[in-house]
Amino acid sequence: MTGPSVFPLSLRRALRERERQLIAVYLAGIGLLCLALAVGPVRERVLYRAKLLTAYWDDRWTRRLEQGEKLVAQKRYAEAANYLAALDREFPARDVRHARDKERTRLLMALGQCYTELKKRKLATETYQRLVAFDPKNWENNYAYAQAASKLRPNWAMPKDARDQYLAVLKINPNHLPSVGGYITYLGEKGDFTELNAAFESYLDALLLQRVTIKVSNIGADFVLPVDGRFHDVEVPLPQLGTWSGELSLSTHGYSIEIQRVALGAPQVVGRPGSTRREVWSGGTPWQVDSLTPRSATLYQSHIKSPGGTLHLPLESRPEPISTVYLHLRLIKPVDFQTWDALGAPMVKRSFQNRLNYGGLDSVKARIIVPDSTE
């Protein structure tokens, strides 16, 4: 028995009248679809469209996060906190392996910042703890937590969770100067000068290998040098033969440098006796510098706030080619004045003095450029 149809009579009549055409169109459609999916290039194009659509739909999380960050940038913290908290509940990345893990980090950072600005200490702490737990090997998370904990300190002293977070940073990135400074500030406030001296020496001893770029008449080569405040002999074979025209330049990519000697080696010539290694600089005229401050003819300081800089040494023109560059130099870790000798709590310098450890003080001074109050 046939029940009443849901379609109006006129529609059914129209369907019946055009049923042949509809069937034909339908079958043609199916056929075309099959054909499209069977023919590789066509299918690829069709499914690529599907991919773009899917990707756009999936990128809604990014768009929402950016909206929240915009609110934070506009300092609408309360509104932003509500918005980001809601997003946080739905956000798909729950594990650091997720493709949107960096966005989740941004989300929690922004949310933590909102709570910090709103002086919601408990919520801020919880948020940063989740951030650290989400990616415990990202030192920036620990540092953000430490900064927030310092900012939201309940009394004048730096809280222990800030110290713990600075230590967590230093465990995986012992060359992070702001965290060294933060930890040293904590120790200075506490008056633990032994530990403070050790912390600073650990910073100086921590392995930091830095790529240095050398160029001789546009032939460039890289070498990696420990940034440890100690002199090293460096022998750099050039990938192609250089010439004596132009200049020799050194880029330290942000570290202060002291150079004592530079020599250039000429290659041998087949069948001809002799080879030359010519010293071209040993502390005479200062180098020309970009974004570096000369402290002496040999010592050039990079600035923490504007790292970078290159040294240039003009070369006298000579006929023979250059195959090898020999250097005697050191790279120096940055130290800011706040960490070295800030007013208020005793920092590195006074800590050594308080322990009457002048030998230790001289030793660390020999490995750094002692900052002045402008640093």
Binding site: R16, L37, A50, T54, D58, I172, P237, P267, V270, G271
Partner: protein, 1111 residues
């Protein structure tokens, strides 16, 4: 109100022809039928009929989009390069292949008798919760079980893998971990990987096949809850268990895997060779010298060396030969790349030498001719060393010559594929939906191509050459190594000149001119048809340099200059030989005046060369600072010398030490400041091999940490062989663990005296040799402490040790013979998988005579002593054993207690001829306890043997059960033969042709049986059968040696038969309950010897069987 419409076919709208006229056109019949059908077709029918097609298309598109969305959850290489189309194709292919896989499905049997099959049982809900969502439950362990024949082994499981390939398909990678006391085929933790199963198996397995320290790897079909889950590659986790299994003491194991998603260190330099703080330690050294990262920092600094001194320091951190071997293996696999600067780095730091050893990890099988990237910074720096390059190519030659490695890897590939063919084929049909498991057709050609290419490399010893007269009369000879391998300069053909007076200098100081810094090469001259020939007495090696700065490894440049002082030569032709193949090398012309391009490696002539020195000590010597003897040097200490050593001062000998005192003029090492110990006298490294110490006294040492190596003995041997100590006294050490410590050493210690030691008198770790006729009195801890060591300990007197007289631990198999042990806490303690032979000893007056137990859970077993003709009496307890230990004795009667059995296990010397002669002993007299006399003779070898290890290999090593045998399986170091009902027989084919062999042949079975009415061992030969009845016992902790003398014949088969007790039950001793368990025979081993003497007469041989040898 609705109006019913007619539902019949639509009226024919074609106009009919006028009456009486035929149709204008006669339609073909088929066409009209089609037309009629078309007319009768209704839309709803079309919709219904096309539903499967539409549904299929919707499914394929929808599922593909969904797959893509799953991939988008990750952002590694596989995810970001994913396309919807690839999933569409994979799903479509999967649908088609699903039909083809149906016949295979029946061959995938979880109950198949194959020791390699892994059967996992996990609660489905737990499994779904873990693996349903690829983003959930990372790092979370969940409980499952490994099914074995009739038992379950509890395991923990979790997801594993460093990229999305491991997690996104229907087949996931995971890790399984057993409990510590119950290992699975000798492993506690195994990773199950879905990626590149067959090729990765071959690539990684070949590492251990060519003698490189590498984790074990296997291929296994895995069943999950009785359903086939896939073929996996199983690989051992690199941890402390791995180190111990590979004869390494626990030390720092540095792990660099910063690329692993979720374990990455963000916002840092991710180059492992520039950042020490993104490394972890997979195992930690527990020695007191353990420095967290000092070696690692040195490795990183050295890998970025900017001077030769730094490079030499890097090379001093490792064994160049071992690293070169590893690189050669990587080249054969075509993949010196995947152990790169961001992941797959494992380095073991040996605490006893502080040498770093790389461990290959996740090596792939690639085409060596298509390098995907440059090698890592360490390899770049290592390969700047011309000696290292040379060593690599020498190792390549040893690997590829005569295609040994190719044949072995091809056999491995085909064997594993054939063994698991249905499983592989089933998985290959699913390729696309799961990662491809690979096939021999893909693996073998790659290996063949790599070997072919490496052979080309071996032949590439191109050498540029030019000779030019220079001012001053000398000829400048310039060579440039341009190939993959170096050459040797053998001679110079001097055309137009007589060879007399010609001199050849090498420009060693590399300044390009002949001066006093250059060395004169020893040569001899001969006349030749064209003039003369100047032959180098020692061929001069002209090493090659490699260029590592591009993708892959390329031939580089290395230049050498010589000066020839001669006159009148019109031309010079050098004779060169390929350093690897030995073939002659024809030099290429090098144009005069060419500017020499920078070398691509360190010039070998810059490397320091040290001449050997002999150091002598005599008279009264006071050492106020450490004395170190470098490798190659010799230290001679004269008889009568007294060396007074300041506190903590040590003598570290890396060269050979000869300290031969006499009975009247002994050599003495003593404290310069009484009461304050000196450090150690240490022989370190194989440079100290064959050192000899005689009539010497070592008094008051204390151990020391030197160059970050801990020397726990006042006398220490580390990595040294063939050292002799004779008439040596070691006493009154303080502070240090051991008076004498040997690590990876072989030595002989004869007529020595140890007394009043601080702790252990002699501590042997992975050490072998002989300790004989020594006296150990009042050791502060053990007299002998053995770890994975197999020394011969005989004729010693051990008294009053505060702990064990002899502690046999951690897989040691020493021969303990004719010793007197008294007044110790324990006479002999046997632990942790150790199987000592304890023969003709006398243990009396100890608190415990013999104790057996499991102490270290990493070894999974207790002790297993073979106690023969040993008296254990008048101890407070003669014998103590735990449930994990076993005991083998002779003459044990059923039901006899082990402690009474030990002393009662008397065997006549002639019964034990095989045993004595195997250990090189010829007794004169015999019986229980100490032998009245014996002589040392040549040990007899084992002609054939078998022992059993529960592994991924054969199920029962060729043993087949029949009759009432329910199963034959390897378990707990035994072949377990379970008999369910009646007579059961287990057989194994052998091929022992003893007809033409002189002497007496004895086959010895170490065997136990329980719950049997009767049992027997039968040897079947062409001439008949020999049967030895067995006496079953009540439990399986007591084993016996059953020695059967074999008359000359050709033996074909071993049969072990057993008849069950009626009723199949056993009354459990403790509970009195009936225990329905199978009767069982456990065979631990068999060995066939040829013992010198008269052959056994074939009188007891039965007639040959007429039918098949097995019932």
């Amino acid at each position: 109100m609705t109006t019913l419409q007619p539902t019949g076919p639509a009226p024919d709208l074609h106009p009919l022809p006028p009456a009486g006229q035929p149709p204008a056109v006669a339609l073909p019949q088929a066409s009209s039928r089609l037309n009629a059908r078309w007319r009768s077709l209704r839309l709803r029918h079309v919709l219904v009929y096309t539903t499967p097609v539409v549904g299929l298309l919707l499914y394929l598109v929808g599922a593909s989009v969904n797959d893509y969305l799953r991939y988008r959850q990750f952002d590694d290489f596989w995810s970001v390069t994913a396309e919807v189309d690839q999933f569409f194709v994979a799903r479509a292919r999967g649908l088609l292949n699903g039909i083809r896989s149906l016949p295979l499905d029946h061959q995938l049997n979880p109950e198949a008798p194959d020791a390699g099959i892994v059967r996992l049982a996990v609660r489905p809900a737990v499994w779904d919760s873990i693996h349903g969502d690829p983003m959930q439950n990372w790092g979370k362990w969940f409980t499952g079980a490994l099914a074995r024949e009739n038992s379950l082994l509890k395991v923990e499981m979790r997801k594993r893998g460093d990229n999305s390939v491991h997690w996104l398909t229907a087949k996931h990678s995971f890790t399984i971990k057993t409990e510590q006391r119950a290992l699975f085929k000798n492993h506690q933790t195994l990773g199950l990987s879905v990626k590149d199963v067959l090729s990765a198996f071959i690539a990684n397995r070949m590492a251990s096949e060519v003698g490189i320290l590498a984790p074990s790897t296997y291929v296994a079909p895995v069943f999950l809850n009785q359903r086939f889950y896939g073929v996996f590659r199983l690989n051992e986790t690199v941890d402390e268990n791995f180190l111990r299994a590979n004869l390494r003491l626990p030390g720092n194991l540095f792990r660099g895997d910063a690329a692993e998603r979720g374990d990455a260190y963000r916002n840092q330099n991710r180059n492992l060779f520039e950042n020490a703080y993104i490394w972890e330690r997979a195992a930690k050294s527990q020695r007191s010298n353990a420095s967290a990262t000092a070696s690692l920092v040195a490795l990183l600094t050295g890998s970025n060396a900017t001077s030769l001194e730094e490079h030499l320091h890097l090379m001093s951190l490792m064994d160049r030969q071992k690293v070169a071997r590893m690189i050669a293996y990587l080249l054969v696999m075509g993949d010196p790349y995947h152990m790169d600067g961001v992941h797959n780095q494992f380095w073991y730091e040996d605490p006893w030498s502080m040498i770093l050893e790389p461990i290959p990890w996740d090596v792939r099988l690639l085409d060596l001719g298509r390098p995907p990237r440059p090698v890592n910074p360490f390899l770049k720096e290592f390969l700047r060393d011309p000696f290292a390059v040379d060593e690599v190519m020498q190792n390549v030659r040893s690997l590829v010559e005569e295609d040994h490695i190719l044949e072995r890897s091809e056999k491995l590939t085909r064997d594993v594929y054939d063994r698991y063919r249905p499983y592989f084929e089933y998985d290959r049909l699913r390729a696309g939906l799961i990662p491809d498991v690979g096939s021999p057709e893909a693996v073998v050609p790659l290996l063949e191509g790599n070997v072919r290419l490496l052979k080309e490399w071996m032949g590439d010893a191109r050498m540029g050459f030019h000779a030019e007269p220079a001012p001053g009369g000398a000829l400048v000879l310039d060579f440039e190594a341009r190939g993959r391998v170096g050459a040797e300069l053998l001679s110079l053909e001097l055309v137009g000149v007589h060879q007399g007076g010609a001199r050849l200098y090498a420009d060693r100081n590399l300044n390009g001119v002949l001066d006093s810094g250059d060395s004169l090469l020893p040569t001899t001259g001969q006349p030749s048809p064209s003039g003369g020939r100047l032959t180098l007495r020692i061929p001069e090696a002209l090493y090659a340099g490699w260029d590592t700065h591009q993708f892959g490894l390329h031939p580089g440049r290395q230049q050498y200059r010589f000066f020839l002082l001669t006159s009148g030569a019109t031309s010079i032709r050098p004779e060169l030989r390929n350093r690897v193949t030995g073939h002659p090398v024809e030099p290429e012309a090098w144009a005069a005046g060419t500017v020499v391009a920078p070398a691509t490696g360190w010039n070998p002539w810059r490397f320091p060369i040290r001449k050997a020195v002999v150091h002598r000590l005599s008279g009264r010597v006071r050492l106020s600072e450490n004395l170190e003897i470098p490798p190659g040097d010799t230290l001679l200490i004269a008889p009568g010398t007294t060396i007074r050593m300041d506190p903590d001062v040590s003598l570290l000998v890396r060269g050979r030490m000869v300290a031969r005192g006499t009975a009247r003029d002994s050599i003495t090492f003593e404290q310069a400041v009484p009461g304050r110990p000196w450090g150690t006298v240490a022989l370190q490294g194989h440079g100290a091999d064959s050192s000899h110490v005689e009539y010497a006294r070592f008094l008051g040492g204390g151990g020391i940490i030197l160059h970050e190596v801990e020397y726990t003995g006042s006398v220490s041997l580390h990595y040294v062989s063939h050292v002799l100590f004779d008439h040596v006294e070691v006493a009154r050490n303080v502070r240090s663990d051991d008076a004498f410590h040997a690590y990876h050493a072989t030595f002989a210690m004869r007529h020595c005296l140890f007394h009043d030691t601080n702790a252990d008198a002699m501590d042997l770790d992975y050490a072998n040799g002989e300790i004989s006729n020594c006296r150990i009195i009042h050791a502060g801890n053990d007299g002998f402490d053995l770890m994975t060591s197999n020394p011969r300990i005989f004729n010693n007197y051990i008294e009053g040790d505060d702990d064990k007289g002899v502690s046999v631990g951690e897989g040691s198999n020493p021969f303990i013979f004719n010793n007197y042990i008294t007044k110790c806490l324990r006479g002999i303690e046997v632990k942790d998988g150790s199987e000592p032979v304890i023969l003709n000893n006398y243990l009396v007056g100890n608190i415990v005579g013999i104790r057996q137990r499991q102490k270290n859970v990493r070894y999974a077993h207790g002790g297993w002593g073979k106690v023969i003709n040993t008296v254990v009496e008048n101890n407070r307890q003669d014998f103590v054993s735990d449930d994990n230990s076993r005991l083998t004795v002779l003459g044990l009667k059923p039901g006899q207690r082990p402690d009474s059995a030990i002393s009662a296990s008397t065997a006549k010397p002639e019964e034990l001829a095989w045993l004595y002669r195997h250990y090189g002993v010829q007794p004169t007299g015999g019986g229980l306890g100490l032998l009245p006399g014996w002589a040392s003779v040549e040990p007899i070898p084992v002609l054939d043997s078998a022992s059993f290890e529960d592994d991924f290999g054969e199920y029962a090593d060729g043993w087949v059960g029949s009759g009432g045998v329910e199963r034959v399986i390897k378990r707990n170091r035994n072949l377990v033969i379970s008999i369910g009902q009646g007579l059961g027989v287990a057989t194994r084919r052998v091929d022992w042709d003893l007809t033409g062999d002189q002497g007496r042949h004895t086959v010895v079975f170490e065997i136990a049986a329980r719950d049997l009415e009767s049992a027997a061992i039968t040897l079947v030969s062409d001439s008949g059968r020999i049967t030895r009845p067995l006496q079953p016992a009540e439990d399986l902790s007591q084993y016996r040696f059953e020695a059967i003398d074999l008359p000359p014949a050709h033996y074909r088969e071993i049969q072990i038969t057993g008849t069950t007790k009626p009723g199949f039950s056993h009354v459990e001793r403790n509970t009195g309950l009936v225990d329905f368990r199978n009767s069982r025979i456990d065979l631990h081993s068999y060995r066939l010897f040829r013992v010198p003497g008269e052959a056994v007469v074939a009188g007891g041989v039965e007639a040959p069987p007429r039918a098949a040898s097995t019932p």
